[in-house]
């Protein structure tokens, strides 16, 4: 026997609220990890509680034609994250430092040039700044796509946008990243 879809479960929870617990059991690990990536473990706990409080309250508005509730949960979480831009920025910069360290270790293991390793220290903070400075909608689409590995369709569901808009946001985000990385790279070279 196949288990009921999220849409079935949420539909049933309208009359039997307890049924909604299954949505938590299916997705909470994923959504908590998502929030942890974005704002760190400590802030994630509070936001995660808020996420499921809102999801339960708004379960009537869930579009029953969508089998999985996960994109919908991502969407609610993305909205909650808006108030946490500052801690996101801090976390991005800390992640950049870590990424540089890992990159360095990787390259040492592969005995590549130390000049390339030095670059990593300069590169990742620029990536962090570039992501942080993307317009809200583009950053959100980019991170759902790149970090959460959602399909275009699921990013569209999460952000309640037409899929075409998601495509154009992602391509703008790519272009802006390329541009920002390129420009700052040149600046850095000039300032030496």
């Amino acid at each position: 026997m196949s288990s009921p879809s999220d849409a079935d479960v949420i539909g049933r929870s309208l009359a039997e609220p307890e049924a909604f617990a299954a949505i938590y059991d299916r997705h909470a690990e994923t959504t908590l990890r998502f929030l942890g990536r974005r704002v760190g473990a400590e802030a994630a706990e509070g936001l995660h509680g808020e996420l499921f409080r809102i999801a339960f309250e708004r379960r009537k508005t869930f579009d029953g034609s969508r089998a999985s509730a996960l994109p919908w949960l991502y969407g609610i979480a993305s909205n909650l994250l808006r108030k946490h831009r500052r801690s996101e920025g801090r976390r991005l910069r800390a992640s950049a430092r870590m990424a540089a360290v890992h990159e360095l270790a990787d390259r040492r293991a592969h005995a590549s040039a130390s000049a390339a390793a030095l670059d990593a220290h300069a590169l990742f903070p620029r990536v962090a700044d570039a992501i942080d400075s993307l317009p809200e909608g583009e950053r959100e689409a980019l991170l759902l796509f790149a970090w959460e590995e959602l399909s275009y369709q699921h990013v569209a569901d999460a952000l309640e946008l037409p899929i075409g808009t998601v495509r154009s946001r992602l391509s703008r985000a790519r272009a802006r990243l390329r541009e920002l990385l390129g420009e700052r790279g040149k600046e850095r070279v000039r300032s030496r």
């Binding site: 990536r37 995660h48 990536v127 790149a146 790519r174």
Partner: protein
């Protein structure tokens, strides 16, 4: 390196603690429970008359812990509240209406109480302390009743009489002892 791949390199998982998931689940279940409770519609709802509904709503919330049902309030264009409802506990609901409506009179002026209301609370001693501190007039202190409840009685700001109860022990009916000296006995 492509921009998306660079962005991926900054993905960093936070430490995940299973206790966080458990706490989150417990919180959600409590919320679900509250909603289930609210959904059980009471079949009898006392309607109490007040001269000043706003003051009554404020007092009943502050002193007794009732909550106004947000969607229930009826207000005219001058902001005068004509009717409102409050809930308490699993499915306790009261209505508050104006003095004189449906021939029901507030005891504030007329001094007559034609009924008192019994309310079950989880911790009657804490409730007593809280209500007293909030200015409720205690008309009968805490006492243990022969049928197993601990109770106290208080007047609200217009003189409606409330009796708060907590079941503290099981007493079989054959052991009930309603003595002639019982102050509750008329």
């Amino acid at each position: 390196m492509k921009p998306i791949d660079l962005a991926k390199k900054l993905r960093r998982d936070a430490a995940s603690d299973p206790a966080v998931l458990d706490r989150g689940r417990a919180k959600l279940m409590a919320q679900i429970q509250r909603e289930s409770e609210v959904r059980s519609q009471p079949t009898i709802i006392p309607q109490l008359p007040y001269h000043d509904l706003r003051a009554a709503l404020e007092f009943l919330e502050r002193a007794f812990g009732f909550r106004e049902i947000p969607t229930s309030r009826v207000e005219d264009e001058r902001g005068v509240v004509g009717h409102a409802m409050m809930e308490f506990g699993a499915n306790g609901v009261i209505g508050l209406g104006g003095h004189g409506g449906h021939s029901a009179l507030s005891p504030k002026v007329d001094g007559v109480v034609s009924q008192y209301l019994s309310v079950y609370v989880p911790d009657v001693e804490a409730h007593y302390e809280h209500a007293r501190a909030a200015g409720a007039r205690i008309v009968m202190g805490l006492r243990d009743q022969f049928w197993g409840d601990r109770t106290y009685e208080a007047l609200d700001l217009e003189g409606h009489r409330w009796r708060f109860h907590q079941k503290i022990r099981e007493v079989p009916q054959e052991k009930w002892n309603w003595s002639s000296t019982d102050p509750d006995k008329p």
